[in-house]
C-alpha cells in the first residue's frame, strides 16, 4: 500500500499529481489575512499614521487632475465617492427608483415610513428637471433619501440626509461625473449625474429656491 509517496519537500513523485499552491495565491491569502486583522487594535497601529498619510497623499496626487476643488476635506472626498458609487450602482442595477412618480405628493409621503427625516420633494418638470421618483439608499453609514430627476436623457440622483452646519456649494468631478454638494436647513444635499456641471447647478438653484418659498 505504500506507494513511494512523494515527500512533503516534493522530492519524490507519487502516482498522482500533487498540486502546489501558486505563489500568487500565497501572496493573496497573506494580504487577505493581514487585511482581516487590520481593523483590530494592534501594536503597530500605535506607530502613527504615516502609512495611511502617505497612501492618502499618493491617492490625492493621482486624483488631483480631476478634482476642481482641491480644498475639499477628506470626509467630503469620501462622501463624494460614496454618493457617486450609489448613483452608479443604481444606474447599473436598474433599481434606481423604488417609488416611481412625478407627483411630489406621492413621493414625499412614501418616505415618511422609511426615514427619520422628511426630504423636500419638488417636481421641476417645467424647468426641465422632471421628478421621476425616489428611493432610499445607504450612504455614510446611514439611510438617506435619493430623489431621482430626469433631465433630457440623463438621470440625476439627489441624495439628502440630515447634517449639521452650513457650507458653500461645492463641485467635484470624478470619472466624467459631476457631483454638487451643499447644505441647507440641517440637511446635506449631494447631486450626482453625468449632466453638465452647469445643469447640476441649475437644479441646485431650483431646489434651494423651492426650499426658500
Amino acid at each position: 500500500m505504500n506507494l513511494g509517496k512523494q515527500q512533503s519537500d516534493g522530492s519524490a513523485s507519487g502516482p498522482f499529481t500533487y498540486y502546489r499552491a501558486p505563489a500568487t495565491l500565497r501572496r493573496r491569502i497573506r494580504a487577505a489575512i493581514s487585511r482581516a486583522e487590520s481593523p483590530r487594535p494592534a501594536w503597530w497601529r500605535n506607530l502613527g499614521w504615516m502609512g495611511p498619510a502617505i497612501g492618502f497623499a499618493c491617492a490625492s496626487l493621482m486624483t488631483a487632475n480631476v478634482l476642481i476643488l482641491a480644498s475639499i476635506p477628506s470626509k467630503q472626498e469620501r462622501l463624494a465617492e460614496d454618493v457617486l458609487g450609489s448613483h452608479l450602482r443604481a444606474m447599473m442595477t436598474e433599481r434606481a427608483i423604488d417609488v416611481e412618480s412625478s407627483e411630489q405628493h406621492t413621493v414625499k409621503p412614501w418616505y415618511a415610513g422609511k426615514l427619520d427625516f422628511s426630504p423636500p420633494v419638488t417636481d421641476f418638470a417645467r424647468e426641465g428637471f422632471a421628478l421621476a421618483g425616489g428611493r432610499v439608499d445607504y450612504v455614510d453609514g446611514r439611510t438617506v433619501a435619493a430623489l431621482v430627476y430626469r433631465h433630457r436623457r440623463h438621470v440625476i440622483d439627489v441624495f439628502v440626509w440630515p447634517a449639521q452646519g452650513a457650507g458653500a456649494s461645492q463641485l467635484v468631478q470624478r470619472r466624467g461625473y459631476n457631483i454638487v454638494h451643499w447644505k441647507r436647513d440641517g440637511l446635506a444635499y449631494w447631486a450626482a449625474s453625468d449632466v453638465e456641471a452647469v445643469e447640476l447647478r441649475r437644479l441646485e438653484t431650483l431646489i434651494e429656491a423651492a426650499g426658500a418659498m
Binding site: M1, L3, G14, P15, Y19, P22, A42
Partner: protein, 195 residues
Amino acid sequence: MSDSTQAERFQQLAMPHMDAAYNLARWLTGNSHDAEDVTQEAFLRAFRFFGSFRGEDARTWLLTIVRNTYYTQYRKARSRDESTEFNEDLHSLDDGGSLPAMGRADGDPLSIVGRADDLRLLDQALQELPEDYREALVLREVEDLSYKEIAATMAVPMGTVMSRLARGRELLMKTFQRLGGEHHEPRQAAIRRIR
C-alpha cells in the same frame, strides 16, 4: 494575548499547510481557479475561527475547513451534482454487491509506476471518481494522511474511511482501465500490471 500575536501564530501554524489545502481543493473542484477561491476562503474562515483551534493537528484542522468550505459554499453554487452522475463503473460495482477485499494491496492500481500517459490517466481516473471516494483517496494517497487523520478530516468513523478507500481503489482501477483500454493497445500491458 493580543490580536497581532494571534495573527502571527496563525501565519506560522497555517501557512506551511497551504500546499495541502490547495491540493485537496484542487482535487475536489477539478480546476485551479475554483481551487484558489476555495483555498482562500478556507484560510480566511480558519483565521476567523482560529480562536476555536485547540491545538490539534493543524493540517487536519485546515483540511477539514477546506472540505467544509467546498461542500457548503462552492458546491452549493454548482447545480451539477457529480456524485449523482451516472457512472457505469459505479453501477456495475454496486450490482455486484460485494465489498472489495480490504487487504488486496497487491491489486492496488496505485502501485504502478508507468509511463507519463498512464500517470495522466490515473489522474484523470481519480478526478472522475465520486467525491467521497476521491476525497478519501486524495487524503490517503496524495496527502499521505493516516486513517485516523482522514477520519477526523472527513468526520466519519474509521471503518467508513477504510471501506471508502477500498471501494475507491476498486473504482479507480475500473475507471483507469476504461480510460486506458479504449484507445491504445500498448497500454494493456500497464493495465495487466495493475491487476
